[in-house]
């Protein structure tokens, strides 16, 4: 009996330390976010003097006023949302339509197609040939240049295919007996059963679209179609003095603006993430264990 109390006591002590450690750990991941967000609300003077601001002594919206003084940043934020939503729908539609047939063992030439898919993971055409393809398809300066070059991630497609293969064959057979055609099996049986995987890959794709800037620089010359990441990058490089032309007095935006644009570009994701996190963690587990 004494022993068990002692054990419990030791466990309590351990829990105490462990809890403290975990709290410190989560603070360590939280503080950078807090720092960026609060730095976007302080005056430039306070930021320069203190260096690190978690609790601003005076809240100001000057940095956001600077960003919203032109239509540029709000428009680019909308562009990013548009690219992400439509791009993810395109990604998922194409990925599902390719993954599902490939998951059926009866598909003719399945192995050959899979070999080609794997080949495309290992070898890519490179920057200039890809540019040519985009140009030939007439996608330059259109939103299509954001969506179509990477419409299917071969890696995601293979994972999704493997997920579909896990589904019991009997379900589909019974659906066929009940009179479902192939498309109906996909939409009524397979997809509803695959929601965790679909949520996971949607998030992967959405993150990719949200953070993309390279396609914008390569394929889009119309500044009105640039996503917010282009400006984020531009302002961050500019603030660190990377684009200086001393002969022409470049106006370097104050440091707070840098934090404001980071906050703006991250905030929508932070808001959306908790709502899909449940699917995400579950999906990861299912996809990875069985894949």
């Amino acid at each position: 009996m004494i022993k068990s109390i002692r054990t419990r006591g030791a466990a309590g002590w351990f829990d105490w330390i462990n809890g403290l450690f975990l709290i410190l750990f989560s603070l360590a991941t939280l503080v950078p976010f807090l720092f960026v967000i609060s730095s976007s609300f302080v005056t430039t003077k306070e930021l320069v003097e203190k260096g690190l601001v978690i609790f601003p002594s005076k809240i100001t919206l000057a940095a956001y006023q600077y960003l919203f003084s032109t239509r540029l940043i709000p428009v680019s934020l909308l562009v990013t949302v548009f690219i992400t939503v439509v791009g993810t729908l395109i990604n998922m539609a194409f990925t599902i339509l390719m993954a599902y047939p490939l998951s059926r063992r009866t598909l003719i030439g399945r192995d050959r197609i899979m070999q080609l898919v794997v080949f495309s993971i290992l070898f890519s055409g490179g920057m200039i040939p890809t540019f040519f393809v985009v140009e030939w398809l007439g996608l330059l300066d259109t939103y299509g240049a954001y969506w179509l070059p990477g419409a299917i991630s071969a890696f995601n497609m293979i994972l999704l295919k493997n997920f579909f293969q896990q589904l019991p064959a009997g379900l589909e057979e019974s659906a066929t007996i009940d009179g479902c055609n192939d498309m109906q099996i996909l939409t009524r049986i397979v997809l509803p059963l695959s929601m965790p995987a679909i949520a996971t890959f949607s998030l992967f794709y959405a993150l990719g679209h949200w953070n993309a800037y390279f396609n914008a620089i390569m394929y889009i010359t119309d500044a009105g179609k640039w996503p917010i990441q282009v400006w984020l990058r531009q302002i961050v490089i500019l603030s660190s003095g990377g684009l200086g032309e001393s002969d022409f007095l470049t106006v370097v935006p104050p440091q707070t603006v840098q934090y404001a644009v980071i906050t703006l570009s991250v905030a929508p994701l932070l808001i959306v993430y908790p709502f899909i996190q449940k699917h995400f963690s579950q999906g990861m587990l299912l996809g990875s264990v069985k894949g």
Binding site: L191, I217, A223, V230, Q234
Partner: protein
């Protein structure tokens, strides 16, 4: 398996979503199709008037350049563009590429491959980039023979700068010029007066100044909180200035008495230059964190350090330096262009503009473009390029411009004007005293600026291994200055460095030098 069983409602929702996705796809396909027609049509639209327009109409000129502000300037309604177009009878259109130099180079390479370059295309990484191959393949106009026909272009460039931007001895580009005698020593004049030293002329003077700034409390605050030189791992412009001062050499190689290139690193003077910095470091007369310091000028503007080797114009115009002068009325800048009567030259340009044959189809068109650039460097246009719109960005007082809205200038004029302004130094009657001084120093010391003889040339090995060799060299210099390497260690490093490509680079430069040495003289 803990499967997520969908309820009836959810499956209906999903079906709707997937139907939506498919309709969106269909919509997207058709919109892509219709869109695919429009950019090519508009591209045809911009090039067609350029080639087929009668001579009296405005000439369309397109530009591709870096975006160096936080916003793209609005070309519609820009007063700068209106004035420039009216003066030159042109129609201007710009493509701005955001991001850093790497992003710009990627964009340049794909545009080069696909023939989408603008008529006037800015190239930031010139000699090291793929553009050199394009030039050798004849994809760009040779503009050298035309330069003499234009009043401004013919006299605006230093001959050495034109030689430096030449490829195989021919000019396929116009430099975006910078002063050749650009570098020098910027120090705190008020500190120098406080410690009672004369203006520095020799390397010993610089050492004495650094010592006094460290030990004699030049800011008179009673604390031992100042030091002499602030520097980064390559000593900013300092290493070249010191090798110029000691040995009349700059860079990796110099021409010997046998008219061939020789390595600078085994000369006594080069080791002496290393010793100079080693002494500053050992006696704590320079910042002890120089090897990792990314922004050495911060210590200068914070009033901790008193000496910087830098581009004189860069330092004087640098926003933080101007702020320091404003906040501390006692602070005064001292400028020294030369040490021992010498300074290190710059190649005289920061990037170039090239004229692709894919965009400029005929010689006639090329002449129009060159004539446009020439006119944009007329006196009245320089006023427009460097000061912006009168009444908005500046006002004229006694014939001399005084700044009004400089922020508007930076975001709405400079991005357009930057690739067009080709004059390296323009003096204005009401320049600040510091600006007057650096401009005069830069003009006076062109003859005292020591050049690197390899600047006009390119080397395949350098393109491949140059950054690696540079890094190895920098690391070894830092080690020497730290005192971790002695003269024997340096000699061993140099012989190893030569084997790793240093000698091959020299041979390749030497072949080009032997071919071109007569025309360069």
């Amino acid at each position: 398996m803990n499967m997520h069983w969908a309820t009836g409602k959810k499956s209906i929702a999903w079906m709707t979503a997937s139907v939506m996705a498919i309709t969106m796809l269909a919509g997207c396909g058709s919109s892509d199709q219709s869109a695919s027609g429009s950019p090519s049509a508009s591209a045809g639209g911009t090039s067609a008037p350029a080639s087929g327009k009668p001579a009296e109409g405005p000439t369309t000129i397109t530009f591709m350049t870096t975006l160096f502000g936080a916003q793209p300037p609005q070309i519609e309604g820009s007063e700068y563009i209106k004035k420039a177009e009216a003066y030159t009878n042109t129609k201007l259109s710009y493509t701005f590429v955001p991001g850093d130099n790497m992003a710009y180079e990627n964009k340049l390479n794909v545009s080069l491959a696909s023939g989408d370059l603008a008529m006037v295309t800015v190239v930031t990484n010139y000699k090291g980039g793929a553009i050199v191959n394009g030039i050798r393949n004849g994809q760009f106009w040779e503009v050298g023979p035309y330069i003499k026909n234009y009043p401004n272009l013919s006299k605006i460039f230093e001959p050495s700068t034109l030689a430096n931007v030449a490829i195989d001895g021919k000019n396929y580009s116009l430099p975006r010029p910078r002063p050749t005698a650009r570098n020098g020593l910027v120090y705190r004049k008020d500190w120098l007066d406080a410690v009672g030293l004369p203006e520095p002329k020799t390397l010993d003077d610089v050492y004495a100044m650094a010592k006094a700034f460290t030990e004699k409390d030049p800011d008179k605050n009673g604390k031992n909180d100042t030091f002499g030189l602030t520097s980064n791992e390559v000593f900013n412009a300092g290493f070249d200035i010191v090798t110029a001062a000691l040995g009349n050499r700059v860079g990796w190689y110099s021409v010997g008495s046998d008219n061939k290139l020789h390595n600078n690193f085994d000369t006594k003077e080069y080791v002496d230059a290393l010793q100079f910095f080693r002494k500053l470091y050992a006696e704590k007369l320079m910042n002890q964190d120089f090897a990792t310091q990314k922004s050495p000028i911060d210590a200068f503007v914070q009033g901790k350090a008193g000496i910087v080797f830098e581009a004189l114009d860069g330092m004087v115009n640098f926003g933080k330096v101007q702020e320091m002068l404003k906040n501390n009325p006692n602070a005064k800048l001292g400028l020294a262009s030369t040490i021992n009567g010498k300074t290190s030259a710059t190649p005289g340009y920061n990037g170039v503009v090239v004229f692709p044959k894919s965009a400029i189809k005929t010689e006639d068109q090329l002449k129009k473009v060159l004539s446009f650039l020439d006119k944009m460097n007329d006196e009245s246009m320089l006023l427009l390029n460097l000061w912006g719109v009168e009444g908005k960005n500046y006002s004229l007082k006694d014939g001399s411009p005084e700044p009004l809205d400089r922020a508007d200038f930076a975001s709405n004029v400079a991005p357009f004007a930057l690739p067009l302004t080709l004059a390296p130094i323009v003096q204005w009657p009401k320049d600040s005293a510091d600006a007057k001084k650096y401009k005069q120093l830069q003009l006076d010391n062109v003859k005292n600026a020591v050049s690197d003889p390899t600047w006009p040339f390119s080397s395949q090995t350098y393109t491949e291994k140059g950054s690696d060799l540079t890094k190895k060299l920098n690391d070894a210099r830092v080690k020497f200055v730290f005192g971790e390497m002695d003269a024997a260690g340096w000699a061993a490093f140099v012989s190893d460095w030569k084997k790793q490509g240093g000698d091959k680079v020299m041979e390749e430069f030497n072949v080009e030098y032997q071919k071109n040495k007569d025309t360069l003289k």
